[in-house]
């Protein structure tokens, strides 16, 4: 199993201890994970993500278990070439941050990027949020990735696996049940931000949507890597040992 939702690099709105790839490698070993798809956290806030992608590939090079998930901004000139370059350099997935780029729910660029990722046979990774809405810095006005935005990207999609990270039950259900069965088959969710007992929202989603829709993710270094492990350990007995989708097999 891998961590499909990890980053390296700092966060603009608060200090994060040691967000370096070497530390991440040790954390993965401690958590019993085989590797991670790793984004470059500062790039989400850059206008041009290219320098951040360069930093990401360079930083991860000594760590073969850390697979790069660079970001591609579909409203930036020549993004198609940037995507091709990222894939050539070994990108395991492509990250995109529509709220941080001011791209709305009906943005055609995101649908184009989704299609291009499918053509390149790489998953598209979206991030619902980096921090709890209640603690946002006053300069952080982007808001959460809306369910409408995810639906807008996922509707009609048949070729690209879409992984949405750090979403909660409300967003997940609103998207999942707002898609056709064929569209749902292409959308996956990490479990880093879904509550366990007593609300037992993770258990509910596993029962109603199926465990195959979910992957393991931590949101490290923003959040404690132990959280998804704790959540799985506290599942009710009938879900004990449930198998999540392993995206490293995609």
């Amino acid at each position: 199993m891998i961590d499909a939702n990890a980053y390296i690099g700092g966060y603009p709105f608060r200090h994060i201890p040691h967000p370096e790839p070497g530390i991440l490698a040790r954390v993965l070993e401690r958590e019993g994970l085989d590797g991670a798809w790793v984004g470059h956290l500062p790039s989400a806030f850059y206008r041009d993500p290219a320098p951040g992608n360069d930093e990401l590939f360079t930083a991860l090079a000594p760590h073969p278990q850390l697979r790069a998930a660079p970001c591609i901004r579909p409203d930036w000139p020549d993004w198609e070439r940037a995507l091709a370059s990222a894939v050539d350099r070994g990108a395991r997935a492509i990250r995109a941050y529509p709220p941080q780029w001011g791209l709305g729910a009906d943005d055609p660029g995101m649908r184009s990027l989704c299609g291009a990722c499918g053509d390149a046979e790489v998953p598209l990774v979206l991030t619902a949020r980096f921090e709890d809405l209640r603690q946002r810095h006053w300069l952080d006005q982007a808001g959460d990735l809306s369910a409408a935005a995810v639906r807008g990207i996922a509707r009609g999609n048949r070729a690209t696996r879409i992984l949405v990270c750090s979403a909660g039950r409300g967003t997940i259900e609103e998207v999942h049940w707002g898609l056709t069965p064929a569209e749902r088959e292409m959308v996956f969710w990490d479990i880093s931000w879904i509550w366990g007992p007593p609300e037992d929202e993770l258990a509910l989603l596993l029962r109603t949507m199926g465990s195959e829709r979910f992957v393991y993710g931590t949101a490290w270094p923003l959040r404690l890597a132990q959280t998804p492990r704790a959540n799985l350990a506290l599942l009710p007995d009938d879900l004990s040992g449930v198998t999540l989708t392993d995206p490293s097999r995609w």
């Binding site: 201890p17 209640r134 509550w195 007992p197 490290w220 404690l224 132990q226 492990r229 009710p236």
Partner: protein, 302 residues
Amino acid sequence: MAPSAPLAGPGPLIDVHAHFFFDGCGRAEWDSLNRARFRAGERIGISLHIASILGSWGRFSPTYFASPADTARGNDAMQAIAEQHPDRVRWYAAVNPNDTDFALAEIDRRVAAGAIGVKLAAARRADDSLLDPIAERAAAGGLPILHHIWQHRRRHWPSQDASDGADLARLAARHPKASFILAHIGGGGDYQHTFAAVRDVRNIYLDLSGSGVDRGMLDDAYVAVGAKRLIWGADITLCTGLAKLWALEVIGLTSDELADVKWRNAVRIFTRLQWEPGTGNRERGSRDGVTVPGSPFPVPAK
């Protein structure tokens, strides 16, 4: 680790910030929520849930502005749950300080019935003088006050008259003999502001509960106030509570400090806690140390 071993490891564990629900409250699934808390508590290894019920959870009056009738209704239900589960539940008397006379009478009545602390939510700002008689009563009775906190309140938030760490620090300074538990540093807002606000206020303890699991939060809390003023709790997300226990093990706390956070600090400040070792998760606590007057449970010497 064997499957039946507590996920939090051996030894006592006290959750100082738990909630229960009851038939007729604002949550239709009240029974499954209570059962889920007990189930997860057993799995984690929680020896005691120190819990409160905030009125009717919004059914007849707002959760954070409970009417006197609702306050009594919630405390009745909480008392009943504690009486049904004397092996693993203790409780706070929840009160609304706006109804001051009623609140004081309710505290007296519920303490006589077994409550060991006072729960204040967000019906009045913490530094309001209206809270003074309640803090005096709590100090005199050895009742810690668990106070709902919004970490760094920079504006009004809906449905509550929230207080932050600076507000609570002013109340705590006026009542140095009372113990205050600052609720859920992971419960929303800017916890770093809280740490700065209460660092030097020795009678404020930080409750680690809340859904927030930011990396660095526990480290900074430990640096700010030390292990003697950190108290474990889960509030309404036991999964994040367990994750924090595991994180505490890797951020540099000694086993002794970890025991302080997991249960010793709670035993130290809940002076009315009557708790026989060997109950709850059936893990025995250390017999070394001294016994606080009024409590049969041993705590380490200072």
